[in-house]
């Protein structure tokens, strides 16, 4: 073994030292590709007269020995046009030859399902393959982000509703209600157990997306939402090591903090005064310790006669100038910069191949101080232990990620006129928790400074986390005779994540907590502190490890040149453990790393009002285990290279909790048929058809909702105020549960026509989820709010179109890639109908309506504003009405207006790739169609109750509210009323006037690259160099809504535009 290692290290060095000696009359040369100047490997070169033959090496170099007289050199290579060159005495060597690629050649696409690699021609399933070139088109540090806009039927879900477990990526729509909606992610044949952001995208060779039942039954119960198979780079066939260097920098604009409409200071103060005059704040003013906003403080003092009218006017004039978003923009946010570096080395030695790569990423956050760094080291060693019999592949990846975040600072929920930073750049206090006058009276000398200064706090809080992940993948393949093979794979992955959140003694969090647990002594003046003075350190340690072992038998044979059979069968075990410990240390001294114990058992009196409370220990400890035992069989049969039959069966058993043993597993299967029509003689007559294939699959996937169980389950730890251990019910007993099943039928045509000018595929699918677990509304008397049962069927039908047009393919190349996906889901069965039509308005999927999409958007019909008082009007029995209690509880669905799906039903992209010589330009236009969203507006009840505390932002629509008769012609925003009527707000919130069409088209990104003419430089070191620029999130070209809302960012702020510059060098 040691010898092998030594050899592996030496091989690249040996290769490096070989130097080609040019000689004047020795025929040598190098052969390149015309389009991008890369050397071509294994070109056949023949001298017509002498018949001497050779092949070019990986650097495109060739030598044909001594040359005399004249001759014709013929260069041929698959995929390239024939090249003939006349040579005579005057020809100078070495030659520089260029070959033109043939575009009409069929490129063989290999798809990797994670269990086997199959030529796409022999597959019947639905796969999307994203190759390396396409992956590298985008710049970014997350591999999945690179798929955005380039992979068909993959929807990036930017408007996720956190309460309905939506995955950020969806393949062919949703197929479940409550089980996981995340696609399964496979990295090199095994599920990836760490966070996906730890993968360095530059280590990835290609990605295959498995969309239908055939693929999913390969992966079993976790594959109901589709599978994304990521394959890492394997190394090259080059005897000499090939070095590749990639570097890029991305510049992100500042986020637009003014994207969400907000009421300005003048109107906000007007609203505060309005509420003050009506006694809204009286209760709060009479509770001395509670905070009041600066304006309310002033108004209260004015009312009490403490200050004069002139003083108050002065204050108002100061406040009216303020907009704290400016302070946020100037002092808290920044334009940010990302940097990425990768260096790799590939090569081959006598016994196999090797690949080494290191990568470093540094990403700044848009908040000052936030930062993320990633270091990756990867090596892959491939060995022919017994040539053409036993081979071994070892893959080792080490990732280290460091993250710094300042999540402790509250940057929102202040009145708009709050001043966070003074003109000199000094942080100002915000009295959001306690009234400043009260702080002046309470035992000041016995307490720590109790003011909160958001800007200063950033320096006193440090939140760091470090993740180290190590993954080892070892595979042995043994090939027997007669097409039998055995492979054994084992993956071990281990990771540690350490989180340190240190809030120093100066931080507001620490001062506040210490003060709250202080008992002042007014006689001695010496307070009792139940929390010692010092920092507070929160530490968390997460450790995970997993073992995956797979034994698989392979069989491939061709009988009588006619029958071709491929089969794999095997078993797999998976064991994943994750343990998490966290704890808190008080009185922490960072320098000495010491702490002081506290009494966390007793209930202690706390300031400001003496509520009993206990000091949180922050101690948690938890262990998760995920285990699977699976058996699988996949078989394919091809007759005459034309007729394809595929079959796959799988059974998974898992350590699901709270069920009987026989409910732990579920068998899944799929079948596929295919017909390579272009191999039939009657199609081959049609010269314009290059490829034509029909294929179809049908099968069943499963989905797992591990949280729903048959027996009563309870969680431990939610405590008792009497310091006893306690537990809470997670699931009430539920013995009738069964597995969810997803049947999926996929049928498709693959085609390539007119010499590959037009190629692509059209797929049609029907996905039907059966026995889906849904919430059945139950009466409150049962003691549970909702109850899960197998009650729903969900059917999704859709099209996926993928079209590639080669519009120009000579010196100018122009490729158009069209992606279109349509997916329409309908809840076909829902056993329980809720009594109330209104439950469909808010909690989308919790109560799906039969016959409508799960995300259906309904709204109350709108009859405008009342001209008398600006009340929003609905419709009751055909008449405008302001009876809100009746309006918000309509009798039937007929009283609601249905819009459509809340998630895009059609989406895709149009990508244009243009190239001319060494320049390449590409831009991608993406679109999302066929969905609706609800925009936000004023909600007086919510605004009033948040304003009674320190204050909060008020929606900008408030400024456009109805104020006097006649306004109803120009505005749809209801008038201000006091007291607020929750039902009135609720009616407006869900009225049709706030529903917007989500259709939009956006220019996602553009890329320009230039291949430097390295072959002209007469150097041997640099073989290829490319400069590129990339702009991401360019902007919306067209949107249906008139409000200027980005339908992908209904809440929050849109992702800012970013600009990247980079260079790729091979040497």
């Amino acid at each position: 073994m040691r010898k092998f290692c030594l050899l592996a290290l030496l091989c690249p060095l040996l290769g490096w030292t070989q130097i080609h000696q040019p000689s004047n009359r020795i025929l040598t040369g190098t052969i390149y590709q015309t389009t991008n100047g890369t050397p071509i490997y294994l070109v056949s070169l023949t001298l017509k007269k002498t018949g001497k033959k050779t092949r070019s090496d990986e650097n495109g170099f060739f030598s044909l020995g001594n040359f005399t007289g004249s001759d014709t050199l013929i260069a041929t290579h698959m995929g390239y046009q024939l090249l003939q060159i006349t040579l005579d005495e005057n020809t100078t060597f070495p030659l520089r030859l260029f070959m033109e690629p043939m575009v009409q050649n069929l490129e063989e696409v290999i798809v990797n399902t994670g269990y086997q690699t199959t030529p796409k021609e022999r597959a019947t399933g639905s796969f999307v393959k994203i190759d390396n070139q396409l992956l590298e088109r985008r710049v970014g540090s997350n591999i999945l982000d690179r798929l955005d806009g380039i992979a068909g039927s993959l929807l990036f879900n930017r408007n996720r509703n956190p309460s309905v477990n939506e995955s950020p990526i969806m393949i062919r729509g949703r197929s479940t209600l409550f089980a996981s909606t995340e696609p399964l992610i496979i990295l090199d044949n095994f599920p990836y157990d760490a966070d996906i952001s730890t993968i360095n995208p530059n280590d990835i060779e290609d990605i295959t997306i498995l969309r239908d039942a055939s693929a999913a039954s390969i992966w079993g119960v976790r594959a109901g939402n589709g599978v994304i198979v990521i394959t890492t780079k394997k190394g090259t066939q080059s005897a000499k090591p090939v070095f590749r260097f990639n570097m890029n920098s991305t510049f992100h604009e500042r986020p637009n903090l003014r994207y969400q409409p907000v009421t300005d200071a003048r109107e906000y103060m007007g609203l505060e005064t309005f509420l003050f005059d009506r006694g809204h704040y009286n209760g709060r003013i009479n509770t001395p310790h509670l905070s009041l906003s600066p304006l309310i403080t002033m108004l209260a003092q004015r009312r009490a006669g403490i200050i004069t009218a002139a003083d108050s006017l002065q204050l108002v004039n100061n406040l009216i100038q303020q907009d704290y978003r400016k302070d946020l923009n100037d002092h808290f946010y920044r334009p940010s910069m990302n940097q990425q570096y990768t260096l790799s080395m590939d090569g081959r030695h006598n016994l196999g191949q090797y690949h080494w790569a290191i990568g470093y990423d540094k990403n700044q956050g848009d908040l000052i101080g936030n930062q993320n760094e990633r270091f990756t080291l990867r090596t892959r060693q491939h060995w022919q232990i017994l040539p053409s019999k036993l081979e071994s592949t070892t893959d080792l990846t080490l990732t280290n990620t460091r993250t710094i975040t300042y999540n402790d600072i509250t940057l929102t929920s202040y009145p708009i006129y709050t001043d966070l930073v003074d003109p000199q750049g000094t942080g100002l206090p915000v009295y959001r928790d306690y009234r400043s006058q009260w702080l002046d009276t309470i035992a000041q000398r016995q307490l720590l400074d109790w003011t909160y200064r958001p800007l200063d706090d950033r320096d006193h809080v440090s939140n760091r986390s470090m993740l180290t992940d190590l993954r080892l993948l070892q595979t042995f393949n043994y090939t027997f005779k007669k097409g039998w093979g055995l492979s054994l794979s084992y993956q071990w992955q281990q990771g540690n994540q350490h989180g340190h959140q240190h809030r120093s003694r100066q931080s507001y969090f620490t001062r506040d907590l210490i003060n709250r647990f202080t008992v002042p002594n007014y006689i001695t003046g010496v307070p009792t502190r139940q929390i010692p003075i010092g920092g507070i350190m929160d530490r968390s340690i997460t450790q995970y490890y997993s073992h995956n072992l797979r034994l698989q038998m392979n069989y491939t044979t061709t009988i009588a040149e006619k029958h071709s059979i491929t089969a794999v069968a095997g078993a797999e075990v998976r064991d994943y453990h994750n343990s998490n410990t966290s704890f808190r240390r008080y009185g922490y001294n960072e320098e000495n790393q010491t702490d002081i114990p506290v009494n966390s058992v007793s209930q202690l009196p706390t300031l400001p009002i003496g509520n009993p409370g206990s000091i949180a220990t922050g101690n948690t400890q938890r262990k998760l285990t995920d285990r699977f035992v699976s058996y699988f069989l996949n078989a394919g049969y091809v007759l005459n290279q034309r007729y394809l039959v595929n079959l796959s069966i799988r059974k998974d058993e898992s350590n699901i909790f709270g069920v009987n043993a026989n409910q732990r597993g579920v068998p899944l299967w799929s079948m596929g048929l295919g017909w390579n029509l272009h191999k039939e003689s009657f199609i081959q007559k049609l010269k314009w058809v290059n490829q034509l294939k029909l294929r179809t699959t049908y099968g069943f996937n499963g989905n797992l909702d591990k949280s729903t169980t048959a027996f009563t389950t309870a969680g431990i730890g939610l405590g008792s105020v009497f310091a006893q251990p306690a537990s809470f019910i997670i699931n009430p007993p539920n013995p009738n549960l069964s597995w969810e099943r997803i049947g999926m039928w996929n049928t498709a045509v693959d085609f390539a026509l007119w010499n590959q000018r037009i190629s692509g595929s059209i797929e049609y699918y029907i996905k039907s989820g059966k026995d889906l677990i849904g919430n059945s509304p139950v009466p409150t008397q049962t003691g549970v709010a909702q109850f899960r049962q197998n009650i729903a069927n969900l059917e999704t039908k859709g099209w996926d179109l993928n079209l590639h047009i080669q519009a120009m393919r000579k010196k100018w190349r122009w490729d158009i890639h069209l992606l279109y996906s349509h997916s329409q889901d309908i809840v076909t069965k829902y056993l329980v109908t809720p009594q109330q039509a209104k439950s469909y308005l808010s909690s989308m999927p919790l109560n799906p309506l039969q016959g409508k999409p799960w995300s259906a958007v309904f709204a109350y019909p709108w009859a405008g504003l009342s001209s008398n008082n600006g009340d929003p009007l609905g419709i009751i029995q055909g008449q405008p009405s302001n009876n809100y209690s009746a309006l918000v509880t309509p009798a039937s669905f007929a009283d609601l207006k249905y819009f459509g799906s809340g998630r895009p039903t059609s989406f895709g992209s149009i990508r244009n790739d243009l190239s001319w010589g060494r320049f390449a330009f590409s831009f991608n236009i993406v679109y999302e169609w066929g969905f609706y969203f609800r925009r936000s507006s004023v909600a007086y009840n919510t605004h009033y109750s948040s304003m009674i505390q320190y204050g909060n932002l008020v929606h900008g629509d408030y400024m456009m509210r109805w104020q006097k008769p006649g306004d109803e012609k120009n505005t749809q925003v209801p008038s201000r009323v006091y007291p607020a009527v929750p039902a009135r707000d609720e009616f407006y919130q869900y009225a049709e006037v706030l529903v917007e069409n989500g259709n939009h088209i956006r220019l996602r990104d553009t890329r320009l690259s230039y291949d430097l003419p390295v072959h002209k430089w007469q150097n041997k070191i640099i073989k290829r160099a490319q400069l590129y620029g990339y702009i991401n999130n360019i902007g919306i070209i067209w949107r249906a809504n008139q409000q200027g809302i980005d339908p992908n960012h209904v809440t929050g702020n849109p992702t800012p535009r970013s600009y990247a510059l980079g260079i790729n060098v091979d040497f």
Partner: protein, 459 residues
């Protein structure tokens, strides 16, 4: 050669398969999350009952509707909708609100108790475990009875022995089966269930008297709750017996002279008088830090100058506005649990109603002696049983203020002909709640009515 290869493969596979199959069952038995249990052991059942986020809560809308406090018109408008409606006894109490914790929280407690009771039936205890099993079963019965009682008192009309068999009570859920819907049984069946459960609990509970952890039911608590129930159902003779039994087991009273009148929190959560800890659901007007819920002025003036309760139960907000101070809960929430002072008052009332003036006044004076400044207390006397009853009831009002009793007492007294009308003045208008108004029975939240189709209370 080829045959040999195949045999080798089969051999390896078989070995692998065997190894696999043998340990598979054990391998898949592993619990997926260390924080999750299937509660089966006695210890685990105890953890469920000790969850004070579920238990130790009872309805608060009754106290919100009662006359211990008042709101100014401005403060009424500033209050949130439900509390505003409860204050002015709106017919449509919940307006568009569809769920309410006064209904849902007790039923959550019932589910927990039922899960524990059903599991207790499945356990085959060892000899040594039998007392613990009994205690857990008794605790679950007590907690279920407590939830049923508070539901019956708030969501059903006042109890008349004559009409109780025909008037509607509440759904008496005695099963964990979620698919089973219970309809409203009669008011009598409701209280019968409570009494039966409590009688069993008394037998099973192992604690004689409360311990520091006041959420754990004891025999004294079970008797105490029986006394409270019998008082509400006007079975005064039985109330006397149960109150007496409870006091036999535990009768500690706090001398208010030892309590600081300036302390924000005069009583800790585990004070000596508390028998069973419980608090009202969280309503902001009920919180004792509220600066807008002002104590009824007549009530406040009825406390004598030397009555320590004047400064321990009440605080000055500003000017003449008097607010409430933290009571036996030790927190800002209203204490609604069982305490010895209530049991003394039940026994005193029952004695008086039985005509035993002497005993009634003895109990009353035992209690009041602990409430007055040392050396200032003059024992009260009564000329006859009726006088004794009036004095006991006056003191009941003063002692059990802000404890969730007043609304229920009004229901009881009015149904016995007391003719007490409540009055609210808002924006110059006077709203009156006549005695025995159907508004005394809280409506059941809309969601329950829609899902289970049980009958709504007429308002």
């Amino acid at each position: 050669m080829k045959i040999k290869n195949i045999i080798t493969i089969l051999y390896i596979s078989t070995i692998a398969w065997m190894t696999f199959a043998c340990s598979k069952k054990e391998f898949l038995e592993k619990k997926p999350n260390s924080g999750i249990i299937i509660p089966t052991s006695l210890e685990e059942l105890r953890w469920l009952l000790d969850n004070t986020n579920i238990f130790t809560f009872s309805p608060g809308l009754g106290e919100l509707s009662a006359d211990n406090y008042y709101l100014s018109s401005t403060n009424w408008l500033a209050a949130n909708l439900l509390e505003r409606n409860a204050y002015s006894w709106e017919k449509d109490l919940y307006a568009s609100i569809r769920q309410n914790s006064d209904w849902s929280v007790p039923y959550q407690q019932v589910l927990y108790a039922n899960i524990v009771l059903e599991q207790c039936e499945k356990i085959k205890p060892l000899q040594s475990e039998q007392p613990l099993l009994n205690d857990i079963k008794g605790s679950a019965l007590f907690l279920r009875a407590y939830a049923f009682t508070s539901l019956l008192q708030h969501f059903a009309p006042a109890y008349h022995p004559q009409t109780a068999t025909t008037q509607l009570g509440i759904p008496l859920r005695t099963s964990t089966d979620i698919n089973k819907i219970f309809t409203r049984s009669s008011l009598k069946q409701g209280f019968d269930q409570v009494e039966t459960d409590l009688a069993t609990a008394v037998r099973l509970l192992s604690l004689q008297q409360p311990i520091t952890e006041k959420n754990r039911p004891s025999k004294a608590a079970a008797y105490g709750l029986l006394a409270r129930v019998c008082l509400y159902t006007k079975q005064y003779d039985r109330a006397l017996l149960f109150a007496d039994s409870s006091l036999q087991l535990y009768r500690s009273l706090i001398d208010y002279n030892t309590i600081s009148a300036t302390a924000v929190t005069p009583f800790p959560r585990s004070n000596d008088e508390t028998i069973y800890y419980c608090q009202a659901n969280n309503y902001s007007l009920l919180q004792t830090i509220s600066a807008v819920a002002w104590a009824d002025t007549t009530l406040y003036r009825s406390y004598a100058t030397n009555d320590l309760r004047r400064n321990i139960f009440f605080r000055s907000i500003s000017g003449n506005d008097i607010g409430f101070k933290r009571g036996y809960s030790g927190t800002v929430f209203v204490f609604t649990g069982l305490a010895t002072d209530e049991i003394y008052l039940i026994r005193a009332e029952a004695y008086a109603r039985a005509g035993n003036t002497q005993a009634a006044m003895t109990d009353l004076n035992t209690l009041l002696a602990k409430r007055f400044r040392i050396g200032t207390f003059q024992p009260l006397t009564a000329i006859n049983a009726n006088d004794a009853l009036n004095k006991v009831l006056t003191e009941r009002r003063k002692e059990l203020v802000w404890r969730g009793h007043r609304w229920l007492d009004l229901k009881r007294f009015n149904s016995e002909g007391a003719s007490i009308s409540l009055i609210r003045v808002l924006n110059g208008n006077t709203i009156t709640l006549p005695p025995n108004s159907p508004l005394y029975t809280l409506p059941i939240p809309a969601e329950e009515i829609e899902q289970s189709q049980i009958q709504q209370n007429p308002r």
